[in-house]
Symmetry: none
Subunit: 124 residues, 2 copies
DNA sequence: GCAAATGTACATGTTACGCGTACACCACAT
DNA sequence: ATGTGGTGTACGCGTAACATGTACATTTGC
């Protein structure tokens, strides 16, 4: 059995729905759902697209390698956290789980939302 | 059209025949020949095997990258968040402020603390 | 020149892919 | 409570395209 269950993790890291992802891929929602559930498997083109959309490599999606990194060294100086599979971050020497990063991104978004609303209140 | 014509080059670089390659892959000669001629396309498993046999990556075989280098995995660089005074992280394209990064670390530590205590509770 | 190995082309049966559809579930507003 | 839109899941069907065997062409070694 080929490792494709990484798709679900990758998609949720982007906070995308099945429908949205399927639209980006140009296929039906049920089709993409089949990939994640393991009942169906994507075409080569779709694998390619997925690697691009999820900012990773086909090798990672296919389970050939265990690190989803695109080439970190060539990345720009600013690293996007929502592209989290591209990097490994640690706190106190313990690597962040993807779940932790997802939670933090949600945390930051909520915090900014609050600040945005507060600013709006302060407008004349 | 997907770039698969690299297969012929890769195979000849190894000085392998169609038959030998097909045997290594566990498929019929005509089947593998179909890949190189472009009339047929390999399964995901076969793509995987091909990348391994030819000592390259699926990304190269699929035409996602142009260099056949095997080690596309810049081996897991783990970056310690607390050691990154000038590390630039972003969420939704907006760079994290230093305070936000501090909050990030605090957030993770608090979460882990909670989990640690919960685990202790669950011990007999 | 011959034989064996290699490469190419094709017809066929069968797999499994993509889609639509239907359903359960949840959040939220009415 | 009832409705509405969005999400994830499961299934049956029609069909594209895959794997194979076979046959033929071409090259290689003797």
């Amino acid at each position: 059995m080929m490792i494709l269950n990484r798709l679900t993790t990758l998609r949720k890291a982007k906070r995308w729905s099945l429908q949205y992802t399927a639209d980006r891929l140009g296929i039906a929602k049920s089709t993409y759902a089949g990939y994640e559930s393991g009942h169906r498997r994507p075409s080569l083109e779709t694998i390619n697209l997925l690697a691009s959309l999820y900012d990773t490599s086909t090798d990672y999606i296919l389970g050939r390698i265990d690190h989803p990194a695109k080439d970190i060294t060539t990345e720009s100086q600013v690293m996007e956290l929502t592209d989290l599979p591209n990097m490994k971050l640690a706190v106190d020497g313990i690597s962040l789980s993807e779940e932790e990063t997802i939670q933090f991104v949600a945390f930051i978004r909520a915090k900014r939302e609050v600040e945005l609303n507060r600013d709006k209140q302060n407008e004349t």
